[in-house]
Amino acid sequence: MMELTTTLQLVLCLVLPALFLFPAGLLARTAMPRFLVLVFAAGVFVPAGLFFKGLLYQGLLFVSAFCLEVVLLHERAVKIPREEILSAKTLGLTRHEIRSQLVYPVMRGAYLLSYAAALFRILCAYDLRFAVGVLVCAALLFITGRKR
C-alpha cells in the first residue's frame, strides 16, 4: 500500500477540511432528519485505525473529519429556526440578504471552529489531543452560538 509523503499529507490535512466546509455547511443548513445527524455523528468514529497508515486510513480519516464538520455546523445551524427564514422571505428579503442578515451572523465562527476540530481529527487521529481539541471546539461553538 502506497504511503503519502509527509508534505503532501500536511497539505491535504490543511486544504481538504477547508474544502469540506462548503458542502458540510450546505448539508448542515438543510433540515437534516435526526437519523442522518446520527449517521454523521457515528461517522466521526469510523475505525480508520484498522488500516493503519494506509491510503484507506487517510481516506477514512478525511471522511471522519467531514462528518465532524457536518455535526458541528449542524449544531449551530439548528439555532436558526425555520420560521425565521420563512418570515424573512415574506418580509421581502432575498436569498443573499437572508444569508448575510440571518445565517452568517449566527454561523459566524462556527466554520473556523469546525475546521479546527476537523484538523484535530486528522492530525491527532487517535490520541487525547484529538478528544480535547474537539471538546474545546464544541464548547466554544455552543457558547458563541447561544441565543441572546
Binding site: E83, L86, T90, K147, R148
Partner: protein, 372 residues
C-alpha cells in the same frame, strides 16, 4: 378582483382544496373560520409562496402569484405578503428595532414609497414602534420580551415591510383576551388606513366576526362559500359552521323522507312547511338539526313551531343567567340548554317547565359540508 385563490394540494393530513376571493373594495377583509389544521397554514403558505400548490392559481390584484397552468410563479420575496402565525418568530439575534429596521430596509430596497422624508428607515422606525405600543422597547432582545410584546413586535415588523396583503393565522393564540383584542384592533386599524386586505384564520368565532364582515368556513381542508357574517351566525348551513358559531344544541338526524327527519336523541320528528302549510323538501345531505339557545322559548310562539318536551331538567347558575338543561328524549338522550337572564324566572319556575318551543323558521337544518 383584489384577491383570488383557487388551489389544490395533497398533504399528509389530506387534501387542501381552497377556492375563495375578495372581489372588491367594499370589504377588503376576509375571515376563515377553521379548527387548527395544518392545511390552514398550508393555504397561507401557498398564498405567500412558501410552498407550492399542486394545481391552481393565486392572484392579488393584477399580479399572478402562482398559476400551475401557465407555470408562473413569483418568488415569496417579490409577493410582499405579510404572514403572521402563532409560530412566526422574531430574528432572535437582533433587537426589536433591528428586526423592524430590517423590514423597513427591505421595503425601501424594493422601491416602495415609505414616505417623502429623507432617510425614511430611521425616520419611520419610531413611528412603527409607536403604532404597536413598543415605545422604549426597541433596544430589547426578543428573549427579553413578554409574549404579548413579542406579538406586537412581530406585527410592527410585518407592517414595516409594507405588505400588499396580510395573512393572519391566529397570531394571538394563547394571549389574554384583552391583549388579543387590542392587537387585532391595532392591526385592523393600520391595515385599514393603508387599504391592505387581511385574510384572518381562527377557530374563534368572535375574533373572526370582529375581523371581517365576510366569513368562510373551512372544513376538512376544504373552503365553503364566503358568507356575510351575520348570515353565517344566524343561519349556518353546515354542522361545522353551526358548532363554530356557537350553536350548542345540535343533534344528528335520520332521514325519513325528503321532507321529514327524525332526531332520535331528542325524540322529535322535524319537517319544514311553506306559508301555505305544504311540506318543503329539506336540504340535501342533511345530517343534523340545531337550535340556538336564544331561539327556545317557554311560550308557544305565533306561527309554526316545534314543541320539545322537558324531561329531567337541571338548572345551573352563572353570574348573569340561569341555564336550564334537559333531556327531551328521556334519560339516554342528549341535553338541550337554554339560558334566561337572572330575575326573569326563578330556579323553581324553570324546574317546573314541561315543554319549550322553537319557531319552525329558527330550526337549523345542517349538512355535513357546503360546496355551493
Amino acid at each position: 378582483m383584489i384577491l383570488s385563490v383557487k388551489i389544490r394540494k395533497q398533504m399528509k393530513e389530506g387534501l387542501l382544496e381552497a377556492s375563495f376571493a375578495i372581489p372588491d373594495e367594499t370589504s377588503r377583509n376576509l375571515s376563515i373560520l377553521c379548527d387548527p389544521d395544518p392545511r390552514r397554514l398550508a393555504l397561507f403558505y401557498c398564498i405567500a409562496g412558501l410552498t407550492d400548490p399542486d394545481e391552481g392559481s393565486v392572484t392579488l390584484q393584477d399580479t399572478v402569484f402562482v398559476d400551475t397552468l401557465t407555470h408562473k410563479k413569483l418568488p415569496p420575496e417579490k409577493r410582499r405578503v405579510g404572514l403572521l402565525t402563532s409560530r412566526t418568530a422574531l430574528f432572535h439575534h437582533l433587537s426589536v428595532q433591528d428586526n423592524v429596521r430590517l423590514a423597513l430596509q427591505s421595503a425601501e430596497k424594493a422601491g416602495l414609497a415609505l414616505s417623502g422624508v429623507k432617510n425614511p428607515v430611521e425616520n419611520l422606525l419610531p413611528d412603527v414602534l409607536h403604532d404597536f405600543g413598543l415605545d422604549g422597547l426597541g433596544g430589547q432582545m426578543p428573549g427579553q420580551l413578554s409574549k404579548v410584546q413579542q406579538v406586537r413586535a412581530l406585527c410592527a415588523r410585518m407592517m414595516a415591510a409594507n405588505p400588499r396583503l396580510v395573512l393572519l393565522d391566529d397570531p394571538v393564540a394563547g394571549l389574554d383576551a384583552q391583549s388579543q383584542a387590542s392587537i387585532l384592533t391595532g392591526l385592523r386599524t393600520v391595515c385599514g388606513k393603508k387599504k391592505i386586505p387581511i385574510v384572518f384564520a381562527s377557530a374563534d368565532a368572535e375574533e373572526a366576526y370582529a375581523m371581517s364582515d365576510r366569513i368562510l368556513v373551512m372544513e376538512d381542508g376544504r373552503t365553503g362559500p364566503v358568507q356575510e357574517r351575520n348570515h353565517l351566525f344566524e343561519k349556518p348551513k353546515t354542522l361545522t359552521g353551526a358548532l363554530m358559531t356557537g350553536v350548542t344544541n345540535v343533534t344528528p338526524v335520520e332521514v325519513l323522507s325528503k321532507t321529514h327527519v327524525l332526531a332520535p336523541a331528542w325524540g322529535i320528528v322535524v319537517c319544514k312547511r311553506d306559508a301555505d302549510g305544504a311540506f318543503v323538501p329539506l336540504p340535501e345531505g342533511i345530517c343534523a338539526i340545531g337550535i340556538r339557545p336564544e331561539d327556545l322559548s317557554f311560550e308557544k310562539p305565533e306561527g309554526a313551531s316545534v314543541e320539545i318536551p322537558v324531561r329531567d331538567p337541571k338548572v345551573e347558575e352563572t353570574p348573569k343567567a340561569l341555564v336550564l338543561s334537559f333531556q327531551p328524549g328521556g334519560k339516554e338522550s342528549e341535553r338541550l340548554c337554554l339560558s334566561v337572564p337572572k330575575g326573569s324566572k326563578t330556579k323553581e319556575e324553570l324546574l317546573s317547565v314541561s315543554s319549550v318551543y322553537v319557531p319552525a323558521e329558527s330550526l337549523l337544518y345542517l349538512t355535513k359540508a357546503d360546496r355551493s
